[in-house]
Assembly symmetry: C2
Homo-oligomer: 173 residues x 2
């Protein structure tokens, strides 16, 4: 199946000049959504993975089913001030200013092998911060998984310390 054709492109969102890759059309399409999880599973099934951690909020949509397919728990990496328990946070750069992601302090334990997942790899800023956060907690990064990659934004160049997987690419972004 051509997963790429299941993803809709919306021009000028969230601002002029951006071609937004809208994965909601893939998610509501059962055969495409199911095959996405299958293909992700095939890419990493032989790795040591003790937990999957997904980045809010589209990372939850792919991460939760993948964790269950792997037979491991799922960890939520959230925007700041969303998690109720004690958290560890990591700042990352935005175009203007900085933002922060957080995870519960007890969500990842020393030596755990963690697969990190988000829907889309653009510049890699958020995922880089998430990977550093997991390492700060003593976890090992098994892989970084994305449904979509925008190679022109060179996100992989920021993530060279870790294995990166993606299922589909859109050029010209």
């Amino acid at each position: 199946m051509d997963l790429k054709s299941a993803i809709r492109t919306i021009p000028d969102f969230p601002k002029k000049g951006i071609m937004f890759r809208d994965v909601t059309t893939l998610i509501k399409n059962y055969p495409a959504f199911n095959e996405s999880i299958d293909r992700m599973y095939e890419l990493i099934k032989d790795k040591k993975i003790d937990a999957v951690a997904g980045i809010e909020s589209r990372g939850f949509v792919f991460g939760a089913p993948l964790a269950l397919r792997l037979g491991v728990g799922f960890v939520l990496i959230r925007k700041k001030n969303k998690l109720p328990g004690e958290t560890i946070s990591q700042e990352y750069q935005l175009e203007y200013g900085t933002d922060k992601i957080e995870v519960h302090k007890d969500a990842i334990t020393q030596g755990q092998n963690v697969l990190l997942i988000d829907d889309l790899l653009a510049t890699g800023g958020t995922m880089g911060a998430a990977a550093e956060l997991v390492e700060k907690m003593g976890g090992n990064i098994s892989s970084l998984m994305f449904l979509v990659e925008l190679p022109d934004l060179k996100g992989r160049d920021r993530l060279t310390r870790w294995p990166v997987h993606s299922l589909v690419e859109f050029e010209g972004d």
Copy 2:
């Protein structure tokens, strides 16, 4: 398995006097998370369901695996201004003021049978708005599904038009 004991309670979050039921401890616990999805599936497997729609963002964690288990697509119901395409929205009451949820206009089609899911039923305000949104689009509500219910807040009283399911209850909230 006692799913209730897999859920952590955090006092005074997000404000003094609230006993916050933290489902992240269940989600990171594979046997508990997997059994939650199994039990939800058992409750609704004989119903007519063409799509699962989950409410941002913890509803995504339970809704996506349940949709795949049922063999149907998954629809994202999001906070305002998050979805890139044309949306339909529904307001709902907060303690102070109002908020809005949105869904893509083409995400649900006339006559589709939709299961709505969120992690927790408190006053039922958000879920009521989500159900009205789906009906406004011509969808039929198959059921409203929650992991946790807080019966003292009488959310079911706001949702009497639809069948409501939950897996665990916490009294005294």
